[in-house]
């Protein structure tokens, strides 16, 4: 190893001014070292490879760009707007990404940056060859920023220099090699022309390739002015205010920032949770939302009090504008400072029942744009008709109702009609009624099984592509033949538990067995009980590509007919999975417990185990119940059962909630995509046996890791719901003459839920539990340092601290917890990246999001299959349903048998001659014939499957039976 000194000549300085969050300007002075050994990365060049320097490991980066005649140099905008095209196998084969561009991309979109970087980690033999040229560190292409030159102009000039350099550096009289700058910036193109640098717009480049399908992928790049004049009749939105106005507004609390979330019931109503306010501010109507998408980080301004309102009591599903909010006369919004503060105070303390504060979006800080799956609206294209080949502007209707229609341009609208397609959003100028986007790919025909499944995954942002090679390379080389190494036992760090009678209990068909259990009586009469968890962290080393992929996926996703794994299946279903009859590594928590259920001793250890049997729930139940069986496993099942009942009683005494959500199981026929039966999941005692021990293990581990890392321990909390969440349901219960749900504590909730029964209807209690669950907040992961200890509480489980330890094969949080426990018991050092709280917070956020998405995807999949099952019925079914919501124009219905939830629209039960009236205070609709339909009523509903014309989405249609 040698250390090199830098010469004075090599130092250049970069000076720039950056404004800070607090509104100050900082002048930043940074050194830059210019080098003569930055390689051009081309196999054509002999000169650079001679100068190449080895890296720390002694490797020299080999040239990437192949011996072809055309290299493309791309600018930042192309990377951001056309990343799909850059990834496309049929174009952009040899690409130079100037480092200037890469940095700009990184600052604007981490996800595009990641994709771009993935493209660069290829070799010259692969099909696509991308190379990052560090132009600002190369003597040949560096240039000082000139006086009065804007940063954008400077960067553009640097990129032109790169193009020029490649042309000169690799020019060869014998070949026709050229490097072309691809940019859509008109000014830059002109400058290229005057400086004699080869350049082309994206559109021209793709046209040159002569592939019509590729052309569709090019984002709309018509001149903004042309398009604007074409669409001048459309609505125009208020322009966003400037960044400096946003900063000063936020500072003075004139403006507020938060994440916009659009209601799932009414896409014209959104809410923004603002710091310091107990209730979110409402945003009502398209104009007030001002082009913001669901999940965008927005800046809002409160509206005057006269415009505050109750949340809309109507459903909006068709594409119509809510005129109400817009037509109202705009009151002069000039308020005195004092009035404004009073209003803000009122907005923050708004009580339920009173008018709720409304606001309007004045700027979008960060877009939450992703890919959207949808279909071309039928008025624009007819399936089966021939395309003329001319470029046409069409609207795409996303499957997610909360997303506005998106305008794209295509040459083959008719070919794409009737297909599920993926589009990306590029821009939403203030003069355009719809956002502008471009076509990405077609998934397949609407209602095609494959296409619909992919659509569900894409819509929930679930990574389902195969694992990248780099991640697969981290797996043990022996593959399926991997065997635990007995030598590890000699180190004393891993304990030999192969003699324990361990077994696992799981749902039928479970392949990824996370957990196994054991129990036996100790000589002193106490019990030894153990939970053994798959030792995933043994195989997934921190910060390896495999770990990063797992961290990104964060959870496995279970669809009805498909499982998307968090880890490659070699690990998930074999090496980590605690399969019976084979030796496996495990992470064990072992308790010594008195027969009364008091814990005397707790022990954590890495272990080597051999499971004796993998039971299904019902099998374990049968073995437990069969008095004639007295073997070791039967006995340990009985101990486990006995202890689990004690544990459960203790939890319930402490106030743990026994909530309900209708979980549906779909039984598949012989043909994979034909569901034959839908069932509500049935639970047996062994379900709760496993659950109790998992809870105990999680709680025990949570205490241990918190003790060891009070700042970074990854824990899970469930905040108590605000009492006001129960206001509506309690009001409804009161009207119906039932007891109230007490809200003072989780115990009070649990106890009062037991009293709300209808002697004539055993399901009624479950129904109330389902609805009460919806009043709760959701549990979340967090880093211990971010909350005070009392706030750690898990409300639903009634425990003061909790974490996830028991499912590392399918949840990434558990993998982190395993590593933290390893460090806590001195098995292994914590990887450096896990010390950093900021790092952990990112993992926490990602886990929380992915977790929710995976659940939603699972539900969407069930919904899809139920829809298919209904479709196969010839006659609409008449089923029992409960009214769970009453709107002025419809009823929300839950059908317990299939866990179905849908809406009866008022048009289907009334007409203009026979109108229905809405009794808001009694939560009831009264039909013309006098029939009163009120909340919690059990009614017969006719259920059938219906294809929604516009979105091509199959859904459940309900009418009165």
């Amino acid at each position: 190893m040698i250390a090199k000194r830098s010469s004075k000549q090599s130092v250049a300085h970069k000076v720039f001014v950056r404004s800070t969050k607090a509104g100050n300007a900082h002048k930043i002075f940074r050194e830059q070292y210019l080098r003569d050994d930055v390689s051009c990365g081309s196999v054509k060049c002999g000169e650079c490879s001679g100068k190449a320097q080895p890296d720390f490991k002694g490797d020299v980066v080999p040239p990437v760009l192949a011996n072809t005649d055309l290299y493309c140099v791309v600018d930042t905008n192309i990377c951001l707007k056309a990343i799909d095209l850059l990834e496309h196998p049929d174009c952009f084969t040899d690409v130079v990404i100037p480092h200037t561009v890469l940095e700009e991309v990184r600052n604007q979109s981490i996800s595009v940056y990641t994709r771009l970087r993935a493209l660069t980690s290829t070799s010259f033999q692969s099909k696509k060859r991308f190379y990052v040229y560090h132009n600002e560190f190369s003597e040949s292409t560096f240039s000082q920023r000139q006086r009065m030159e804007t940063v954008n102009d400077y960067n553009d000039r640097l990129i032109r220099l790169v193009t020029k350099y490649y042309n000169e550096h690799l020019s060869n009289p014998k070949s026709s090699f050229k490097a072309v700058l691809i940019t859509n910036d008109r000014l830059n193109l002109e400058k290229c022309r005057s400086e004699n640098i080869l350049a082309a717009s994206l559109h021209d480049y793709v046209t040159e390739l002569g592939n019509a399908k590729l052309l569709d992928l090019v984002a709309i790049q018509e001149d903004a002015a042309d398009l604007k004049s074409k669409q001048k009749n459309e609505t125009s939105y208020a322009p966003y205010i400037s960044t400096s106005a946003v900063l000063s507004g936020l500072n003075s609390q004139h403006l507020h920032q938060g994440k916009l979330s659009i209601s799932r019931y009414n896409y014209l109503e959104a809410s923004v949770s603002v710091q310091g306010s107990s209730k979110p501010f409402l945003v009502i109507g398209r104009d007030m939302m001002n082009r913001a998408f669901d999940g965008d980080k927005v800046v809002v301004e409160l509206l005057p009090k006269s415009q505050w309102r109750k949340p809309l009591q109507t459903l909006t599903e068709a594409d119509q504008d809510a005129g109400a909010a817009d037509d109202e006369e705009q009151e002069s919004s000039i308020l005195s400072e004092k009035e404004r503060l009073v209003m803000l105070e009122e907005a923050r303390n708004a009580k339920p029942g009173e008018a709720e504060p409304t606001c309007k979006v004045v700027a979008v800080l960060k877009r939450n744009w992703r890919f959207y799956v949808g279909n071309i609206s039928s008025e624009f294209a007819k399936h089966g008709e021939r395309d003329s080949g001319a470029l046409r502007s069409v609207l795409v209707r996303p499957m997610d109702k909360r997303i506005s229609q998106i305008r794209i341009q295509t040459r083959r609208p008719n070919e794409l009609a009737g297909k599920r397609i993926v589009v990306a959003v590029d821009d939403w100028p203030s003069w355009s009624r719809f956002p502008q986007g471009h076509f990405v790919k077609a998934l397949g025909d609407i209602e095609d099984h494959q296409a619909e499944t992919e659509a569900i995954l894409l819509e929930h942002d679930i990574e389902f592509r195969p694992f990248p090679q780099a991640a697969m390379d981290c797996l043990p080389a022996e593959g399926d033949n991997w065997k635990p190494d007995e030598l590890v036992l000699t180190s004393g760090k891993r304990r030999d538990l192969r003699d324990l009678n361990i077994c696992s209990i799981d749902p039928p068909g479970c392949q990824d067995i996370d957990d196994a259990l054991h129990a036996h009586v100790l000589p002193n009469g106490n019990y030894s009980l153990g939970v053994h968890i798959a030792d995933v962290s043994h195989f997934v080393e921190a910060d390896t590509p495999l770990d990063l992929e797992g961290a990104l996926r964060a959870t496995s996703t279970y669809l009805v007919d498909r499982r998307i794994d968090m880890l490659p299946s070699l690990l998930g279903t074999n090496l980590c999975s605690l399969k019976p009859y084979v030796e496996r590594y495990a992470f064990s928590v072992i308790w010594e417990m008195t027969p009364e259920g008091n814990i005397v001793n707790t022990d954590f250890t890495k272990s080597l185990i051999k499971s004796r049997e993998a039971f299904e729930y019902t099998e374990a139940q049968a073995k437990h119940d069969d008095k004639s069986q007295n073997d070791d496993l039967a006995q340990s099942l009985r101990i486990l059962m006995k202890v689990s009942k004690m544990l459960k009683q203790k939890r319930l005494d402490a106030g743990a909630l026994n909530l309900a959500s209708p979980e549906v199981k779909i039984i598949m026929g012989d043909e994979m995509n034909d569901p034959t039966e839908v069932k509500i999941k049935q639970a047996v005692d062994t379900n709760s046996l496993v659950e109790e021990f998992m809870l105990l293990a999680n709680i025990t581990v949570a205490h241990k890791i918190y003790e060891h890392s009070p700042q970074t321990a990854m824990l899970r909390r469930h905040p108590a719901p605000p009492a006001t969440n129960f206001d509506v349901i309690n009001d409804q219960l009161r009207l119906k003459g039932f007891p109230q749900i007490a809200t003072s504590s989780s115990k009070a909730v649990a106890d009062s839920l037991d009293t709300i029964v209808d002697p004539k209807d055993p399901f009624f209690n479950t129904l109330i539990r389902i609805l009460a669950t919806r009043c709760m907040t959701s549990a979340e992961y967090f880093a211990a340092g971010n909350f005070a200890y009392p706030e750690f509480r898990h409300y639903g489980l009634a425990t003061e601290i909790y974490t996830h330890f028991t499912s590392p094969i399918r949840r990434y949080a558990d993998v982190i917890v395993h590593r933290q426990l390893e460090a806590a018991i001195g098995y292994k050092h914590l990887p450096p990246s896990h010390f950093v709280k900021a790092n952990l917070e990112k993992i926490v956020d990602n886990n929380n999001n992915r977790h929710r998405n995976a659940q939603l995807a699972g539900r969407a999949s069930v919904e899809y299959f139920v829809g298919k099952m209904l479709k196969s019925q010839k006659e609409p079914m008449v089923l029992e349903g409960y009214i769970i919501k009453v709107f002025s124009n419809g009823l929300g219905i839950l059908v317990p048998k299939y866990g179905l939830e849908s809406i009866i629209h008022i048009e289907d039960i009334s007409s203009e001659e026979e109108p229905a009236s809405f009794d808001e205070s009694n939560y009831a609709l009264i039909l013309a014939n006098g029939r009163k339909l009120s909340i919690f009523d059990k009614i017969n509903v006719k259920v059938e499957s219906q294809l929604h014309e516009a979105t091509g989405k199959r859904s459940v249609k309900m009418t009165l039976g």
Binding site: M1, I2, A3, K4, R5, S6, S7, K8, S10, V11, N24, H26, I28, F29, R30, E31, Q32, Y33, L34, R35, V38, Q53, D55, F56, V61, H99, L102, E103, R106, N107, I110, R117, T120, S121, V132, H134, E136, F137, D543, H829, P831, P832, F835, K842
Partner: protein, 244 residues
């Protein structure tokens, strides 16, 4: 995620250096010859530290005298304009006090204090610009300042920082690298291969320290050579002056 690619797959750092390259290192002795008995200036990249040394001299306070050896006292001053945001530092700030103590202890091993009992040596370090951690700059400046003041010493102490980007050690980290990565400051006495000073700013995994130390020691040697060169230049100019 960081704003920057700290260490790119192409093997370049935020400022264009490779892992084993020092920033431009500049130093001089006798920069403030009229103000003190010894003075020196060290620049590591845009970091700049000036050192002035008074003594060995009669102690100002008798109470701080040692009858067996000279007392070494170090004060570190950080200029308010030295970093991006203008902040006032007082010398009794905990961090600076710790820094002073570390410096006193490090140099106690090489300064031949027993040769000048009942005296004190006062070292003032002025950090004029900080880009990355300031410890290494202070050690180097102090070393040269002491030499310029003619304080008898066993050998040079040369110092340099090293940061760890995952498993790759980065020599002489700048401000961005220091704030993003765990880093060490290492000092080496003379031409030995042993670190006489190792200070870690954040937790570093034990098995990753070894390659970092190796690289830092090589860096210290290079710094040693540059400083040695300057000491000889200063010596020659003094000789010239005497001859004249």
């Amino acid at each position: 995620m960081s704003r920057y690619e700290i260490y790119s797959p192409e093997g370049l750092r935020v400022d264009g250096r490779r892992y084993n390259e020092l920033r431009y290192f500049k130093c001089a002795l006798g920069t403030h010859a009229h103000a003190a008995d010894g003075s020196a200036m060290v620049e590591m990249g845009t970091s700049q530290v000036v050192c002035t040394v008074k003594g060995p001299q009669e102690p100002q306070q008798r109470s701080s005298m040692d009858t067996k050896k000279a007392v070494l006292r170090v004060n570190v001053h950080v200029a308010p304009f030295s970093s991006i945001t203008r902040t006032k530092h007082t010398s009794n700030e905990k961090q600076l006090q710790e820094l002073s103590m570390n410096l006193e202890e490090t140099f106690a091993d090489v300064v031949l204090a027993h040769l000048a009992p009942r005296t004190e040596i006062i070292v003032d370090l002025h950090v004029l610009a900080q880009d990355g951690n300031i410890m290494a700059g202070c050690v180097n400046a102090m070393c040269l300042g002491l030499i310029d003041a003619g304080v008898p010493m066993l050998d040079f102490i040369a110092s340099v920082g090293v940061a760890l980007a995952d498993s790759v050690p980065l020599l002489d980290p700048n401000h961005i690298e220091c704030s993003e990565l765990p880093n060490l400051t290492v000092g080496v006495t003379g031409k030995s291969n042993k670190a006489s000073l190792v200070i870690a700013e954040k937790r570093i995994l034990l098995d990753r320290i070894k390659p970092s130390l190796d690289l830092a020691i090589m860096g210290c040697k290079t710094v040693h050579d540059i400083m040695d060169e300057q000491v000889r230049i200063r010596l020659n100019s003094l000789e010239d002056r005497i001859k004249r």
